[in-house]
């Protein structure tokens, strides 16, 4: 990579850490450290929530998904604005008004200590691991693209983040997020401009070609529970998932608890929904444009350079032959794409239809060779290739002008840092408030609790870095933890819904939570074809029904 790109990247990291250190002033107690004395402006909180959700996986994986699968993934977010409105009028006033530090603290006031401890423990388990995976995803890509040792990539992302999160607390996290959103959106916009400038055919014609491959199908109205992304799974399952995530996950709840008032907390939540669908659509569209770019420019057979090198050295002659077939198929596909453009420009409908059929056939030939290469990579390396995650990094490093590549990499780092920082801060909050202060040292002084909070953040940061370093070997374990996490997301939402029902009692909430998780586990293992988005609906509904049944008749 050119030295100017490195200068941009390193300057950005130094700036974020320096700014984080600057914001440590005035943080003298845990209310300042975890909730910024509940005094942050609503727009900054909203941008922070938005940045937290935009992880490096979004920039690397989702753009790659746009290139290979198209726009349909955007349906996943259709429930988000709806969920934000529901939360704005239900949970947010409850939680903000209760003056709690954690969402789970509210459950003790409403039910009992064991329900609080169980939900908080479940949060710590799932988020502790996921903080590691959030670092691991971009670190693995960085190490493959630059040929670095994974430990160094993890350190590049993890160390600055842990540093400013430990020292600056939520103030540093939030203000860093605001800047990080600016970097991320600017980088995406710049890539779009470059892609449009380098498109050799008119955009209208190029999009028609992309449409022929199904990549511009956004809405799928089929009511098929085995399909992950449909309009209905997005609107119904997605709403429950987002309700659960934004309403009960401490990493999100903590953001809006920092707002000055209930009205500002609700507004910040809505603000984070503002650009979610347009931004995700933009991210996916960048992927579609990259796909179109590679129609007219020879693409690599494998985008992951590390896997490419391994496959090539394991069977050089075979791989070279495969590459030759890939290049030939690519040339045919480009010719077919240009035929579509010519037919459109000639205004010949019949010729356009024939050209589109020809293009689809050529695309199938390209896909067949690539699938063969991906299978070969998986068998040689013994790892799932996840080649989709390398499409954008390769495009950025091979084709973006000097400077812009550095900004994009800074954006990837920014996205990773903002997500990890929020996780670390919330993990520390739940550890200190729900466990240390609740069970170990209820009468600890402000200074003592602040010191414990910083130590706790540092420990969670170190844990996340260790998990990230061993991500490749922990792959199956992380998958198990993530799957386990999906068992209780909807169920925890169910407990919070029960908390708002005057009839619900502590026994109903605790038993309902356990029955809800077991039900989702049974569905997950018994009917694995049911898309995970529906698990949230099943979990929440089960907890509410069981909770109400066990709470007995309505009491006056």
């Amino acid at each position: 990579m050119h030295w100017i790109n490195w200068v941009i990247l390193v300057s950005y990291i130094v700036y974020v850490v320096w700014d984080g250190l600057r914001r440590t002033k005035g943080t003298v107690n845990i209310e300042g450290y975890f909730l910024a004395n509940r005094n942050l402006p609503w727009w900054a909180v909203g941008l922070s929530v938005m940045a937290t959700q935009l992880s490096a996986v979004t920039l690397i994986g989702t753009t790659g998904q746009g290139a290979t699968d198209g726009m349909r993934f955007v349906q996943f977010y259709f429930g988000l604005p709806l969920a934000m409105v529901i939360l704005g009028v239900t949970l947010v006033p409850f939680l903000h008004g209760a003056k709690v530090y954690t969402a789970y603290e509210y459950l003790e006031r409403r039910f009992d200590a064991k329900t609080r401890s169980l939900t908080s423990f479940l949060f710590l388990m799932s988020r502790g691991m996921s903080a590691g995976t959030i670092i691991a995803a971009p670190a693995v890509v960085f190490s493959a693209v630059f040929g670095w040792d994974l430990t160094w990539s993890v350190a590049l992302i993890g160390v600055p983040t842990v540093l400013y999160t430990v020292l600056g607390g939520v103030q540093a996290v939030t203000w860093a997020d605001v800047k990080q959103m600016v970097v991320i959106v600017s980088a995406l916009a710049a890539i779009v401009v470059v892609l449009l400038m380098r498109m050799p055919v008119p955009l209208d014609d190029a999009l028609r070609v992309a449409g022929a491959t199904g990549r511009l199908v956004v809405f799928d109205f089929s009511f098929d529970v085995t399909k992950t992304y449909t309009f209905w799974s997005g609107v119904l399952g997605g709403t429950f998932l987002m309700l659960s995530y934004f309403g009960t996950d401490q990493s999100q709840v903590q953001r809006y608890l920092t707002a000055r008032s209930v009205d500002e907390a609700r507004s910040s939540l809505l603000m984070s929904a503002y650009w979610k669908i347009p931004l995700q659509a933009l991210v996916l569209l960048v992927g579609v444009l990259v796909y179109l770019f590679y129609l007219f420019q020879a693409p690599p057979l494998l985008y992951n350079p590390a896997h490419e090198a391994q496959v090539r050295s394991s069977a050089p002659v075979e791989y070279a032959a495969m590459e030759q077939r890939y290049v030939a198929a690519g040339v045919e596909r480009e010719a077919a794409a240009r035929n579509v453009v010519s037919a459109r420009e000639a205004g010949d409908g019949a010729a356009e239809t024939r050209a589109l059929d020809g293009f689809r056939a050529a695309e199938a030939s390209v896909t067949a060779v690539r699938t063969e290469a991906l299978d070969r990579a998986a068998s040689v390396t013994g790892q799932s290739s996840r080649d989709v995650n390398y499409i954008i990094p390769r495009f950025v490093l091979d084709h973006l002008p000097i400077g812009l590549a550095g900004i994009f990499l800074a954006a990837v780092l920014a996205a990773a840092m903002s997500s990890i920082a929020a996780e670390l801060n919330s993990l520390s909050t739940a550890t200190v408030v729900d466990f240390y202060q609740r069970w170990v040292k209820p009468d600890g002084s402000d200074a003592h609790l602040l010191a414990v909070s910083k130590i706790s953040t540092a420990i969670w940061g170190a844990f996340a870095c260790v998990v990230a370093t061993y991500a490749a070997t922990l792959g199956s374990l992380i998958e198990v933890v993530n799957r386990f996490g999906s068992f209780f997301y909807g169920s925890i939402l169910g407990v919070f819904l029960l908390a708002m029902m005057p009839r619900a009692r502590p026994l109903g909430a605790f038993v309902g939570l356990i029955v809800g998780m077991l039900t989702v586990a049974a569905v997950s293992f018994g009917v694995p074809s049911v898309s995970f988005l529906w698990h949230n609906v099943i979990g929440a509904v089960t907890v509410v029904v069981v909770g109400i049944l066990l709470s007995g008749p309505k009491q006056d």
């Binding site: 726009m71 009205d263 503002y274 669908i277």
Partner: protein
């Protein structure tokens, strides 16, 4: 006349943006994905 709360104002703006985004996505699909 009382001022509408920030929440209500933001709500209207957010929903307008979502509807506009969905309409644009619908137009994209209708024009190119048939």
């Amino acid at each position: 006349m009382p001022q509408p709360s920030r929440f209500r104002r933001t709500l209207i703006q957010v929903m307008s943006v979502q509807v506009l985004a969905l309409l644009l996505l619908w137009a994209l699909q209708a024009r190119y994905a048939s």
